[in-house]
């Protein structure tokens, strides 16, 4: 496939699934075999917050390490909502406390200790803030508050005042419905392990999970929490000009069979556009930031201010999450 994935070591063949689009968002599914030996998503559970700015995860798999996808967010009642500063690795049959997590609900007190939580993934705009290595590694629960206030400030239906409560966006009924609609509009395809996500034809994210099982578990949070919310934000702040996909012209006298060929060709052309799109993403730097057993996490920066995490297992990549 494309040079970016080769640079990062994703040498296995990835295929492209059925292209899906809704409004300004297009998802180009990446399909392929599982990568490495990683604990199933069911084995990975958020356990608790032990102090403000900490998140503890538990891996019940007895044999394989588990991955917490980048910038997972937990929200719930009577406790301060939190998000991971990046991705995380938890070794087999163990707990891990991530002490560099962020509080995303400034004026709420209380720790999570087993109560039900709603999970999501931080919006692209906030994920980008956490690409700063120093900020990401800093143990300071309020490190994202300023950015949250800025992110919320452009949203018409959010009236947060000065508080940094991401839930003011996620719980607002209109936004909540719009996010659910994003999640409903996209579907995982057979063998999908990742996706290239575009807004109006411009890549905004590249996600690759260790397996189709992992994609099935996390795709909704990516589509709604991470990319859907950012799309709403960009639209409302006027930073995303509306555009319409130009569908192919259909000659009047075309037979149904010929019509099928025309439309299929159109979709195939979109699929083929993925290679140059990926080539346009250039890696600017790679920086090792964590290692656990055979798992190494690197922070990647791309040209143009994007970046994210790549995780390798025995030197082979098993997870990639880039916001662009």
């Amino acid at each position: 496939m494309a040079s970016l994935l080769e640079t990062l070591g994703f040498i296995k063949t990835l295929g492209v699934g059925e292209v899906q689009s809704d409004d300004e968002m297009t998802v180009i599914p990446l399909v392929g075999e599982s990568l490495g030996n990683i604990a199933s998503p069911e084995a990975m559970k958020f356990k608790r917050t032990t102090s403000y700015g900490s998140m503890q995860y538990n891996n019940t798999d007895k044999h394989y390490p588990g991955i917490v996808p980048a910038n997972m967010m937990v929200r719930g009642k009577d406790a301060q909502d939190h998000a991971m500063s990046g991705s995380g690795v938890v070794l087999a049959a163990s707990d891990k406390l991530f002490k560099n997590a962020c509080c995303v609900e400034s004026s709420q007190g209380g720790y999570f200790s087993g109560q039900n939580v709603t999970e999501d993934i931080l919006p692209v705009g906030l994920r980008k803030v956490l690409l700063d290595k120093n900020l990401r590694q800093r143990t300071s629960y309020d490190k994202l508050w300023g950015s949250i206030r800025t992110w919320l400030s452009g949203l018409r239906k959010v009236n947060s005042g000065t508080r940094a409560h991401l839930r003011d966006f996620f719980d607002e009924p209109n936004y909540k419905e719009a996010l659910e609609n994003f999640a409903a509009a996209f579907e995982p395809v057979d063998g999908q392990i990742g996706a290239l996500i575009l807004f109006n034809g411009i890549p905004v994210g590249l996600e690759i999970m260790p397996s189709a099982e992992h994609w099935a578990a996390y795709w909704k949070w990516l589509i709604r929490g991470c990319y859907g919310s950012q799309l709403i934000k960009l639209k409302e702040s006027g930073e995303l000009p509306r555009s319409t996909m130009i569908l192919p012209e259909i000659p009047e006298d075309v037979s149904p069979e010929q019509l099928k060929v025309i439309m299929t060709q159109f979709i195939d052309n979109i699929k083929m556009s993925i290679a140059p799109l990926l080539e346009s993403i250039q890696v600017a730097s790679q920086d090792r930031i964590d290692s656990s057993g055979q798992m190494i996490t690197e922070l990647i920066r791309t040209e143009g201010g994007g970046g994210g995490d790549v995780i390798t297992q025995n030197s082979k990549p098993v997870y990639l999450s880039l916001v662009l």
């Binding site: 059925e18 297009t26 319409t244 569908l247």
Partner: protein, 508 residues
Amino acid sequence: MSKKIDSGMLQYTPKGAYYEEKDQQFNAVKKMWDGLFEYDRVLFALTSILNGTGFSKGAMAHKLLSNPVVSKTGMELVPDGLDSEFERKVISYNLSNQTMSRAIKNLLMLAGGELHSRVNNSRTRKVILEFLFNRDNKELDSLAINFKSKLAKLVRHALGKQDLFKILNGDMQLFEKKIGKYNTHAFPVICHLFNQNVINFGEVKAYFPNIDCYWGAKAAAHAGDIKEFEKLICKLPWRVAMGFRNSYKLDIDKSKILGDSKMSTKEELTMEAAVKRSGAKSRTVNYKAQDLYDLWKALYFKMANNESENIEKISEAIDARTEKLSKLDFGEGCVVVLDASHSMFGSDERPLHPFLTGLCIIASIENVEDVFIISGKWKEIEGTDKKVVFPANASPLWRGLVDAVATGAKNIIFISDGYENSVKGMFNHVYKHFKDTGHEFNIIHINPVFSAEAKTGTTRTLAEDITPMPVGNYKYLETEFIFNQMLENTEAVKALLVHKYQKLIGGS
């Protein structure tokens, strides 16, 4: 009337959909109940006799009973052809057409169940006591051991603590006035429900063998007499037997309970896998007596778990049920396009529900000449010639439209949640091309994902001039059609419903 009232108000079940949480659904449906009730109370009451979910009917009964009719003569609001007690009769009719378990839950709504407020007035008391006790001794006997604690709660609610205390202390005059008028033999049942020994009250007018067995089994369990308890298992409902086993820590294998105790026809099917897992001797399931939806569900469960046992029998039962089903006629030359994309899997709470509903809807339509399946993933079971499609992948619905139009069909029925994504807008583009180039066909879009906003929302519409019909249960096709007309012609629909009331329940 608000355009936001649709047949969805009769199809609510408190379970989430693929893209909508249950509280969102509930709030939207509640608005519909309130809206129609305020618009026309009679219409509200009569629509509840149409096919719908037990929960919706229970909630609608709750609404009627918690809002007393303000009237001088009692007849001002009653149209011709109905009697003054038609509301109560509608409620009783609906209760009698539910499964017993659902009917009891609906009555419990009146006692504060399922997030409803308590309702206590004379109409409510009458509805509860009449439903529970206006039945023969055999039925009452079975009811009393299957739903003992729930019945106790209902009786306490309907009688009030004071009257219940008096009856349990032998006030037979009060018993006759409140309960005996429905079943004069029911006193031992009341004693059973509240753990009183009926012998203390002198002559007993009737014998209730199941109740006797219940107390015999309980005494044996209490004494740890496993031999005696095992003798009685075959007369006890499986839940009761299992309850005693667990409460009294009896050393009896689970398989003994699941193999020997009583199960209803539906339970025989729904518990089939659990019975097998327990290692109990397999029970003979009468597949041909099951509902079509339950049969499809059983088949898919087996296919998903690679179990070939009884697949042939289930398939035959599906064919037999389909043949017997009364069908709705959409006109000649019907072609169905079934969306088998991932979102038709439904929610984790009701896995496969939209897709299985879609399969049942196909069976409920007359004159189906062809079925096109969009997306999905086929699965075969070794050792059988059966293969089924599971929901998977994206939704290129435009392909189905091209295939259907190519057949020359005049009526094309799309069974889909309407979320086209591969890519969005393609369906409308192709549809417009066909319409502009003189192809004559009619599209009916049935949305089997029950969603409170399914009809009024815009995102699930296939094309601008195609209004989706939300049908969360294949039995509700007729309901949907009546609601469609209700928006246009309220009085005609009211007359139609009065006629239906007379036919089903009785005239004035």
